[in-house]
Amino acid sequence: MSGARVVVDTEQLDGGVVAELVSACARAHAEMVPWRQAQPAADRPPALLVGALRRGERRIPAELVDAATRLSNDVAILLMSDEPLVRPVVSTHGGRVTLLAQPASPARIRGTVRMLLAQRGEFRRERLDNHVWTAVLEPADHEPPPPAIRQDGSGALTAVFPLIRGWSGAEPLCEEAHGIAQTPIEEEERLQRLVELFGNAAGLIHLSASCRQWSVYWPTTTSPLLLCSPLRLPRLSNLADAAAGQVLHLTASSGDLMVALSHEVPIAIRDDIGLSLSDGGAAFLDQVDTKLAAGGAVPSGLVVELR
């Protein structure tokens, strides 16, 4: 197998968790290796090390740190916590260590592994950095083209999301849109410049440097722009109405999940989306993949998750 390697502490982790990890690795075409059998391999260092964090422990187990150091200098670490934490998924150490809180649903476990593997797990439309995970839903033929994403060295991210079929300006205009979103100008002028740039053809989602603020330009109410977070009230909101006629700014918070969809989806599917979004962006994509495999139609989309 030539995919990523995932080293798992199979001795310490619960059997049910290990079963979900096996399933997640299989989906990612990744090779799962029991920790104590893992040997350093210069040509294929592991992408992910999964261990357990016992109740009350507030430190990464020393054995795990040693294993991480021995196996690879930049391996990501996923710790399955035995207790609830401040959020279902907590990212620490500059994004290198991820803690998964109890209770963790199977979808959450599989989704977190998918998120941490991202492009290394052969999910080619998914990107992970220290603070943000992004994913693009492949559009079907009759859908608008895929969004363009631009992220600079400061971590600021801009996505241009086409809203009408056949519009091809996302990629060429993304750089300029990124500049408009970041420039300190009057809000009216910012709105004016975005209207001139995109009109109704595209929306813009911008996450500021250091991930402090979302800015949204969304000139339609027919395409949903969902913001979901277990630490927001309400947990799921459609920002499309609130964004009408303005560039909407919201304080960003870890755990935020912004989902742009090219068109409204039936209520039943939206309930599904709400449910799967509560398990994180990657769990939502798992559900979308399942629908695609069953022959269902899904809208073109973009998912941005703040870790």
Binding site: G56, I77, G94, P234, S237
Partner: protein, 418 residues
């Protein structure tokens, strides 16, 4: 070799590394010289001819490779052994293999004793022992101080890897700071801090300064402590120093902390600090302390039960103190409810622009007995045209949905502390 074996030249722009080297070499036969750039380092190396050069791989004006190349090209510096300071040994070994002068690699983080041994080997000496000044602190005290320092600054340390990435440097290994706080480092750090502390204590207190224990220790030496419920489960999950363990084994719910401290030859202040840590970790209970007051509830007036009330109730329930939520149907009832349940926070949906919302806020603000109750208005939309009026009526915050729970929590925490 014409070099002076006792001179050590450190070429590194990191103030932290320079300080660590300086502390490690203090009291030894080595004289340390510093250069914070490649150019300065080369100039000093030619003039000084040190016994060994400690060289960082990444410098502000050049790379470690460039500096090595120029040292090797110059007859005056070619034979000076170089120790490379790097976080990536394997890669560095390949890159620097071409330079015979690079004799060893010092990994980050490093300990003082390891550095001394490597420097000693590089200049052909046996590992030099530092002149050992009388130790002011026991190993236990060093360990405890390291733990406290690490616990207090953990969040700050955790930010360092991401800053390093942004600055283009290599992020340190997880828990690098913990490894850095070795007994040798702590000994010197404690020396410095003690001097500073003594200076501060010698200074007259600032006017109006409250009499508060600077360490936040509330357990007194006369306290009688006992094991807290769930002790056996918790103690397995907590890393304790040997003195803490000794204190813990003597806790019996009968003797005062001062009695126990005397039995293990510990001063009262240290015993109180240790006991406080154990209380904070949930291992011990102060039998004489008043039982904690039940948490004050949060009152809410919000029509969205499914999307707002229920998730808020569940978030409050998940807090350590399991804070209850009291829901009120009508804003006209909120003043009576606040008098009845004495909440720490009142959350009111103010989108309806009812005059009674502002009226209720004014009534609550007029009552000095309710001065510590926080008032937060929530708006369904991002239209904030009535925000000014709400603030004028006495609301502490006006938040638009979807709000972040943390924005409410900051009004809960101070009340919880009270």
């Amino acid at each position: 070799m014409n070099a002076n074996n006792t001179d050590v030249l450190v070429i590194d722009d990191s103030a932290t590394i320079r300080k660590l080297v300086e502390m490690s070499m203090r009291g030894t036969q080595f004289r340390v010289h510093f250069a914070n750039s490649g150019a300065d380092g080369l100039e000093q190396a030619r003039a000084l001819r040190p016994g060994v050069i400690l060289l960082d791989c990444v410098l502000p004006d050049s790379s470690g490779l460039d500096v090595c190349r120029q040292l090797a090209d110059d007859d005056r510096t070619r034979s000076i052994p170089v120790l490379l300071i790097t976080a990536r040994h394997e890669r560095a070994r390949d890159e620097f293999r071409q330079f015979g002068s690079v004799v060893d690699f010092v990994g980050k983080p490093f300990t003082g004793s390891d550095l001394l041994a490597r420097v000693g080997r590089a200049v052909g000496l046996s590992a030099p022992a530092p002149a050992s000044p009388p130790r002011r602190f026991t190993r236990d005290q060093q360990e405890r101080a390291a733990k406290i320092l690490y616990a207090r600054m953990r969040d700050g340390f955790a930010l360092i890897p991401s800053h390093m990435s942004r600055l283009g440097g290599s992020p340190p290994a997880p828990y690098f700071a913990k490894r850095l706080l070795t007994p040798e480092v702590m000994e010197k750090l404690l020396d410095e801090l003690t001097e500073l502390y003594e200076e501060v204590l010698a200074a007259p207190p600032a006017r109006g300064a409250a009499s508060v224990d600077p360490d936040g220790v509330t357990v007194s030496a006369t306290a009688v402590l006992d094991r807290a419920p769930g002790f056996s489960d918790r103690v397995r999950a907590v890393n304790l120093g040997s003195t803490s363990r000794r204190v813990l084994t003597l806790i019996d719910g009968k003797h005062t902390l001062a009695d126990i401290a005397r039995r293990i030859d510990l001063d009262d202040r240290s015993a109180c600090a240790i006991a406080q840590e154990l209380v904070n970790a949930g291992l011990l209970l102060d039998k004489g302390a008043a039982p904690p007051a039940p948490p004050r509830p949060v009152v809410i007036v919000e029509p969205d039960v499914q999307g707002f009330q229920r998730p808020l109730a569940s978030l409050l329930e998940s807090r350590p103190e399991r804070r209850p939520l009291v829901a009120i149907d009508d804003v006209d009832e909120v003043v009576a409810a606040v008098h009845r349940v004495k909440p720490c926070l009142v959350v009111v949906n103010a989108s309806q622009r009812k005059p009674s919302v502002e009226g209720a806020a004014r009534l609550l603000r007029a009552d000095t007995a309710l001065a510590d109750v926080a008032l937060v208005a929530v708006l369904d939309t991002h239209d904030r045209s009535n925000a000014e009026e709400l603030y004028s009526a006495g609301f502490d915050a006006v938040l638009s949905k979807p709000i972040i729970f943390g924005d409410l929590e900051k009004y809960i925490a101070p009340a919880a502390a009270r």
